[in-house]
């Protein structure tokens, strides 16, 4: 009789509590901090919309892909994978967690470095065909910390929703890239006069017909663009070779610019003497030529929107922890942590609001690893009042741009950088 099994005892107590047969025990159960019995967890929905995606990440399942930790699946062919939120607690995003976005389905499964060459051709006096060993041994080594963010990162926030990769916030990552400065390679190739643009192409190919964007993916930069002075041909990412899905053996690193220019498995640099009119420059990855790149569906329909190629990344900031999945007890200090970045001169300030943007406190910035890198921030918060709190974060970049509380909309679903919010539930501590 003294040996009563825990489970049956609990069941008995719950029965009493539920039936109210014994008033005293019923009261105790009512006081129970976990009055509701835990049920099985629910999966996220298969899709979000037509409203905005309310989750930090996109809603796809976690999957394993070669050289990767489980990432969030957007699409399997071509491969598009999103990085889960918690990886952004750190300045540098691990290679095995770095997001993936390919445009065309025929992507490398293997590269034979005996055969592979980076070709520099077109309007040059000395065409080059460089092996990886040539890049490593014949040129000066350079490194830069830089954020790679998909143009369509956070596309699932837009209202009305637009078709395309329905990314949450995880189509971004930061790495320390090491390789050769593009300028060094261009100098070796000796550009001829009349050169206008550089066109970049990788090993990826598509099943679409020749002459269409579904067949080849190419991006170009103007030779007058100052970003070329910072641009790197990188063979190392966070001190390791690039994962195949992130562009092994080398990829272009265009600091401050959206990832569309960061051509993966880069194998051709073509010096052009006239503007590149291929689909990926002339039609895709273009933004309205308006302040903030925003427009309206009506203006698009009316054909009023003039567009320009997307380029620099506007300032953004994120709360990474706490992520809202746990209730916080009041009076217990909690460290609010996150990251900020901008394509415009690094991060000058990160501010946090715990009252939905009414008042702001300045967060402490983490180590400065360069103006194109993630900048971590943190702020200690002691939740005073039980209830629902809306935490908001905004950053100011080196050129003085401050994140706004305005939704961005354009038909491509690019440039989203509205102030992010997170609801945090606080309960009494006693």
């Amino acid at each position: 009789m003294t040996i009563v099994r825990e489970a049956s005892r609990r069941r008995f107590l719950r029965t009493l509590g539920a039936g109210g047969a014994l008033g005293l025990v019923g009261q105790w159960n009512a006081l129970n901090a976990f009055a509701q019995e835990p049920t099985a967890p629910h999966d996220l929905p298969n899709f979000t919309g037509p409203g905005a995606n309310p989750y930090w990440n996109s809603v796809g399942p976690l999957v394993t892909e070669p050289q990767k930790s489980p990432l969030i699946l957007l699409t399997d062919r071509p491969v598009q994978l999103e990085t889960p939120r918690h990886y952004f607690l750190n300045t540098f995003t691990p290679n095995d967690a770095f997001y993936v976005r390919w445009h065309l389905e025929t992507i490398p499964n293997s590269v034979d470095l005996k055969e592979w060459r980076l070709h520099v051709e077109g309007n040059v006096r000395k065409p080059l065909a460089l092996g990886l060993n040539d890049l490593v041994t014949q040129f000066k080594t350079s490194s830069i910390a830089a954020v790679n963010q998909c143009s369509g990162n956070s596309r699932s926030r837009l209202q009305p929703r637009v078709p395309g990769g329905q990314w949450g916030n995880g189509a971004m990552g930061n790495a320390l890239w090491t390789g050769v400065k593009l300028r060094e390679i261009l100098n070796a190739a000796a550009l001829k006069s009349g050169s206008l643009q550089l066109q970049f192409e990788g090993l990826d190919r598509g099943k679409g017909p020749e002459g269409f964007g579904s067949n080849r993916f190419m991006k170009s930069l103007d030779l007058t663009d100052p970003v070329l002075d910072e641009t790197l041909v990188a063979y190392s990412m966070n001190g390791e070779p690039l994962p195949m899905l992130n562009g092994f053996p080398v990829r272009l690193v265009v600091p401050g610019y959206f990832a569309t220019y960061w051509v993966k498995s880069l194998s051709w640099i073509r010096v052009l003497d006239k503007p590149d009119e291929n689909f990926w420059m002339k039609t895709a990855y273009r933004i309205p030529d308006t302040p903030g790149g925003s427009t309206t569906p009506d203006d698009v329909k009316a054909g009023k929107v003039k567009t320009v190629p997307i380029a620099k990344m506007p300032v953004r900031s994120f709360l990474i922890s706490p992520d809202g999945s746990s209730k916080l007890p009041s009076e217990v200090p909690v460290l609010l942590q996150g990251i900020a970045f901008s394509g415009y001169g690094g991060i000058a300030k990160a501010e946090v609001s715990i009252d939905d943007g009414a008042t702001w406190r300045t967060a402490r910035l983490g180590e400065d690893t360069g103006k194109f890198s993630f900048r971590t921030w943190e702020l200690s918060w002691i939740p005073q009042k039980p209830g629902k709190h809306t935490v908001a974060v905004r950053a100011t970049d080196g050129e003085g741009h401050i994140q706004k509380d305005e939704a961005v909309w354009n038909p491509g679903g690019y440039l989203w950088n509205r102030i992010e919010r997170q609801e945090i539930v606080v309960g009494p501590a006693g």
Partner: protein
């Protein structure tokens, strides 16, 4: 008997503070780990094949045309990933695949594909 009553009340006091011991059958599935890849010492750098994940498309007229034509360039996840889109947006998307991306789809199949997407993937029609 007294011992049993004491044990009962001690237990009641303990479990007034918390719930414990609840388990439920998993709902989200688990992910198997993959074998480390054995690499040769030559100059070829390889990965495993990229996995294709089963995508459940809504059953209906036009499904066959989707797999005949759309699957050439991308898997059907490109459809299920989208939010519910208005009918005219789906028509514009299919026409974009033909005009901007050069998809070669006969007219009657184009109409079937558009109707299929409108029948299953608009705010009014999307079920899962």
């Amino acid at each position: 008997m007294v011992t049993a009553i004491c044990a009962f009340f001690a237990s009641a006091a303990l479990y007034a503070q918390f719930n414990a011991g609840f388990y439920a059958l998993e709902v989200s599935g688990s992910i198997r780990q993959t074998m480390p890849r054995a690499a040769g010492v030559g100059a070829s750098y390889e990965t495993a094949a990229y996995p294709l994940y089963r995508t459940e498309l809504a059953a209906g007229d036009g499904e066959q045309e989707i797999s005949s034509y759309c699957n050439t360039c991308h898997s059907p996840r490109y459809i299920t990933m989208q939010p519910p889109l208005p009918s005219d947006t789906w028509a514009a998307e299919v026409n974009k695949m033909i005009k901007a991306y050069g998809a070669s789809i006969p007219d009657d199949s184009t109409q079937k594909i558009i109707q299929y997407l409108q029948s299953h993937y608009t705010p009014e029609t999307r079920k899962k």
